[in-house]
Symmetry: C2
Subunit: 525 residues, 2 copies
C-alpha cells in the first residue's frame, strides 16, 4: 500500500515527478518558477513536545509520532502546503487519537472535557479553509481525533436504498462496500479519495452532480453525533415536518457542535445510461445564459460545468478562445439522449455551437469532456508541485443568484486580477468556471496562478484572498458554496450570518459543548 503525504495532497507515489514538473513549469513565465523547495525530513521538524498525556485507558489509541502530529497539523490549502514545506508548524496537535469505536470517541470527549483539552475532529484532512488546524487559544493541549478507523458500512437497506455508514469512511472505501449491493452514494467531490463521509457532512461538501444533489445535505436520512453532553441520534426518515430539522443543525457545524460518527445516507442505483456533450460559446456571458436556461428547464443534468476560455485552454484542450460547457446526463432507469438533446438545443438557442457529436447512449466521451475530467482529479497534485516551485496557486468559490451572476464573475475576476498585480507586482492568471447550478443561481469557482516570492507566499495569498472575500461580501455572494468556513473564512462568515441567528447558534454551541473544547475557532471566535 502506498503512503499518504504528510505535507501535501494525496499519495506520496502520485506526487508530480521531475518530467511532469518540467512540463508544468514550461507553461508558465520562466521568472515565476524557481527550484523546487525540498520536502523537510520529519526528524528535522522539531515539533513542540507534547504538553498533555492521555489517560492510560486511551493511551493505546493515541499517537505522539512526529509524522502523525505533523500530518494532522494542517489541512490541504495552498497556505497549508507552503507552511508545511517551510517546516512552519508551531502548533501541532499534542496527540493524534485514532478511535476504533464510537465508545472511544465518547471516552476521548469525556477526558478532553475534564482536562480542558481542545478536540479537533479530523476526517481525511482535506480542508482548504483551516478547518482542522488549532490556531492559538488558551487550551492546555490539543488532540486531533482521526476518525478514519471508523470506516464501515454497517447496514444496507436495499428496499429503501439507504445505508448506515461510519463517518470515518474515505470515499473509495465507502463506495467499495456499497458496490457489492449494486448501490452508490455518487458523492464525488474533488477530494473524494482523501476525504470522509463525516467530513463531507460536517462541511456540507459539494459533490459530483452539478444540479439537484449538489451538497451532501440532501442525501442525509439520519445522523448520529457524539457531543460532550451526550449522543444525538435522529430518527431515520425520508422527510419530516416535526420542528426545525435536527440534522440541519449538525450539517455544516464543522466539528464545533459534536463529532459525527454515523449517518444513514440515501443511495442510488448505478447509472447504466450516460450521454455527454461539450458546447462552445464565444463569450462566457453567452455560456452563462445557456446554463441558466438549462438550469431553469427542469432537465437537471448531472454535469453542467461552464469553463471560461482560460480554464478551457488549460484543462480541456480547447484553445480557440471559446468558453466550453460540459454537459452530462445519466440514469439507471432509461436512455438519456432526449434530455441531452434538449439541453444542447437550449445551449444553441444561446449562441452555443457544437460539433455534430453523437448524443447516443454511452458514447465515447467527446475530447473536451474527457480532458476536463482527467485534469480535474490531477489538479491538487499539480498545485503542490507549483507550490514547491514558488508559484501561488489557489482557488476561491462562491454562489449567487442569476441576476448577479455575470457581475459576480466579472467583478471577482477583475478584482482578483488587481489584487494579484498589487501583491505580486505583475499580472497573474485568473480562470473561472461554474461548479454547480441551480434554477435561481450558480456557483462560480476561480483559480488563481501568480508569481510568489519565496518566504512571503502565505501573506501574499492571504492578501489576495482578503481582497476576494471583501469583493464577495460587497456583492452579497456567499463566502463559500462548498469549501466551508473553517478559520480562514470566519471574518466574512460572521458578517454573512444573521446576527440573531449567530447568537442562537452560539447558545446552541454552549449547550452542547459547555467547556468549549470542540474545534475552537471554528464558527465562533
Amino acid at each position: 500500500m502506498t503512503k499518504r503525504s504528510w505535507w501535501g495532497w494525496g499519495w506520496v507515489d502520485a506526487a508530480v515527478g521531475a518530467a511532469e514538473r518540467a512540463g508544468l513549469a514550461g507553461r508558465l513565465p520562466p521568472h515565476w518558477v524557481g527550484d523546487p523547495v525540498p520536502v523537510p525530513r520529519i526528524e528535522d521538524l522539531r515539533l513542540r513536545a507534547p504538553r498533555v498525556e492521555p489517560p492510560a485507558a486511551l493511551a493505546t489509541i493515541c499517537s505522539t509520532d512526529p509524522e502523525d502530529r505533523a500530518g494532522h497539523t494542517y489541512g490541504k490549502a495552498y497556505r497549508d502546503v507552503v507552511r508545511a514545506l517551510a517546516g512552519d508548524l508551531p502548533e501541532p496537535p499534542d496527540l493524534v487519537a485514532f478511535p476504533r469505536t464510537e465508545a472511544d470517541v465518547v471516552d476521548l470527549l469525556d477526558w478532553a472535557g475534564a482536562a480542558g483539552v481542545a478536540v479537533i475532529p479530523y476526517g481525511g484532512g482535506s480542508s482548504v479553509v483551516g478547518g482542522v488546524e488549532y490556531r492559538g487559544g488558551a487550551h492546555p493541549g490539543v488532540v486531533s481525533v482521526d476518525l478514519t478507523g471508523l470506516d464501515q458500512v454497517l447496514e444496507v437497506d436495499r428496499v429503501s436504498r439507504a445505508a448506515r455508514i461510519q463517518a470515518g469512511a474515505l470515499g473509495p472505501r465507502l463506495e467499495r462496500q456499497l458496490s457489492g449491493h449494486g448501490l452508490t452514494l455518487r458523492h464525488f467531490p474533488q477530494s473524494f479519495e482523501f476525504s470522509t463521509l463525516g467530513g463531507w457532512l460536517a462541511t456540507r461538501a459539494g459533490g459530483h452532480y452539478a444540479m439537484r444533489h449538489t451538497h451532501i445535505d440532501d442525501f442525509v436520512e439520519a445522523l448520529r453525533v457524539v457531543t460532550p453532553v451526550g449522543i444525538s441520534e435522529s430518527r431515520r426518515l425520508p422527510a419530516s415536518g416535526a420542528g426545525p430539522s435536527p440534522d440541519r443543525l449538525f450539517l455544516g457545524s464543522e466539528g464545533a457542535l459534536g463529532v459525527i460518527t454515523e449517518a444513514w445516507l440515501r443511495l442510488q442505483d448505478r447509472p447504466t445510461h450516460k450521454a455527454s456533450a461539450a458546447v462552445r460559446f464565444r463569450t462566457f456571458a453567452d455560456g452563462l445564459g445557456a446554463v441558466r436556461a438549462i438550469a431553469q428547464s427542469g432537465l437537471e443534468p448531472g454535469n453542467c460545468r461552464l469553463l471560461d476560455a482560460a480554464e478551457a485552454a488549460i484543462n480541456a484542450g480547447v484553445r480557440d478562445g471559446s468558453s466550453v460547457l460540459v454537459l452530462g446526463f445519466e440514469s439507471a432507469d432509461r436512455p438519456v439522449d432526449a434530455g441531452l438533446a434538449r439541453a444542447v438545443e437550449l445551449a444553441t438557442d444561446h449562441h452555443g455551437t457544437y460539433p455534430p457529436v453523437s448524443t447516443r447512449d454511452t458514447p465515447d466521451r467527446p475530447d473536451a469532456v474527457g480532458a476536463w475530467r482527467s485534469a480535474f482529479l490531477r489538479m491538487p497534485y499539480l498545485r503542490d508541485a507549483l507550490a514547491r516551485l514558488g508559484v501561488i496557486v489557489e482557488t476561491i468559490e462562491t454562489a449567487c443568484t442569476w441576476d448577479r451572476a455575470t457581475e459576480v464573475c466579472e467583478t471577482v475576476r477583475a478584482e482578483l486580477g488587481d489584487a494579484i498585480e498589487r501583491v505580486c507586482g505583475e499580472p497573474g492568471i485568473v480562470t473561472c468556471r461554474t461548479t454547480h447550478v441551480y434554477p435561481d443561481g450558480v456557483a462560480p469557482y476561480f483559480t488563481v496562478i501568480a508569481r510568489g516570492r519565496r518566504g512571503a507566499e502565505v501573506s501574499m495569498w492571504d492578501d489576495i484572498k482578503a481582497a476576494a472575500g471583501d469583493t464577495l461580501e460587497r456583492l452579497d455572494a456567499t463566502i463559500t458554496h462548498h469549501h466551508a468556513v473553517g478559520r480562514d473564512h470566519f471574518r466574512w462568515y460572521d458578517r454573512q450570518r444573521p446576527r440573531p441567528f449567530g447568537a442562537a447558534l452560539l447558545a446552541a454551541k454552549n449547550s452542547l459543548d459547555p467547556r468549549g473544547i470542540l474545534n475552537p475557532g471554528v464558527l465562533f471566535h
Copy 2:
C-alpha cells in the same frame, strides 16, 4: 366579498347546505348521524373580558371584537371545530393585532416583551395541531398577531425566478400577484386558500407536488424574521455551505423563535405541458411497490398519489375494490408524455392495470383524477358538516422509509380500527392514501370517520389520536410529515427529537426569546 367562518373551514358561503348534508348523511350508517348542531351566535359566546390593553400607539391595530377573538382562539382541527361549535372557548386571545407593517410587528413584540404578554403568530389560522391556540400558562395576557395585512409581493427577480414576498399573503393572493410576471410558486397545500406563506414556512408545509418539491423548505432562498432580540435576515443565495443553514432553524419553528415577515422564494414558469393517468391495483401493497419503483426511477412525477380501496371509492369514484394510483407530470419546457408512459410502464410491471387512456399532452383528465381533485378541495367543508352531525372525522399523517412502508400502513390502519372500536363502541371507517413520495420512503395519510357521542367528541378523538401517536412512535415513523407539531403533537415530538438537539434548540429559543413570549407551549414545554 364573502366572509370567513369564525368556527369552521373557509368561506361562510361555501359551507355545506341542507341538500349536500343530507347526501353526506345518507352515505353513513343512520345511527351515526344526528341533527346538525347549531352554530352559536357570537353574542352568546360570553368570552372572557380582555385582560390587557395595548399601548396607545398600537391601539389602532388591535381589536377586541368578539368575532375576531373567537375566530383567533383555535385553528381548524376537528377538535377545534367541535369546541367552537360548543361555545367552548375559555382562553380566547385578549387582543387580536392586525399589523400593517413589519415595524408594527417589532412594536408589538417590544410591548409584549415588556408586559410579559404571550404572542401567537397567526397566518391563515388553518393549523390542525393546536398551533395557534393559547393553552394555559402564566402569561397575564395573550395577543394573536394576524399577519394577513402583510400580503404583498414586494419584488420580483425574473432572471433568477424569485420573489420577495410578505409572509401574510394567503395562497391565492400570492399567486395572483405572481401570475402577472408569468411565474408561480406552485405550492398548493389543501389549505391553499386559507393559509399564508408565513404559515407554510413556520410549519414546513407540504404542497402540491408529490415528489421533489414536497415541503416549502426547498423553495426558500432567504428569510426575514422578527425576533424579540432583533431582525434576522439571511442573504439571498441559491445555495451555501457557510455553516449550519440559518433558514433551516426558522423553518419549522412554528412561531416559537420569531415572526417570519418576509421571504425570498424560488419560483417556476407556469407549466404548459401536462399529462396524467390513473392506474389500478388489486392490492394496496402492489400499489406501494409501483410507487416505490417510480420514486426510485428518477422520473419525479408532480403527482403520485396512491389511494386505497376505501379512499378510491369515497373520493375517486372507483368502486371495484381497487387501489388507485393518480399520476401526473408537468413541464414548462417540453412534452411530458414519455415520462408518464415510463411511469405507467413501471406501474404495470408491479401488477397495475389501466384503461387504454391517452397519454398525449394536456389530455382531458381521466375521471378518477378529476374526481379526486374536486373531492380533495371540498374535504374540509364536508368535515365540518359531519362534525355538526356528530360524526368524528379527522386525519393523521406520517412518513417512513420504504422498508417499513407496508407495515406502517397496515399497523396504523389496524390499530386505528381497534382504537375506534374501543372508544366508539363500534367499528369506524379508516382510509389510507399516500401524499408525498421519496426515493427512500413515503408519507402515508389516514382518514378516520367514526361515530361520535355528543359532548364527548373531543376526548374521544384525543383517545384515538393518542393510540395512533403511540403506534407511530413504536414504528419509528415521524409524528408529522407536514401537519406540524403544534401543541397536539408535542408529547411524541419531544420523544422523536434527539435529546441533545432538544437542549440546543431550547438554548437557541432562550437566546432569541429571553422572556418566553413567543407561542408558548409550542416546540417547548
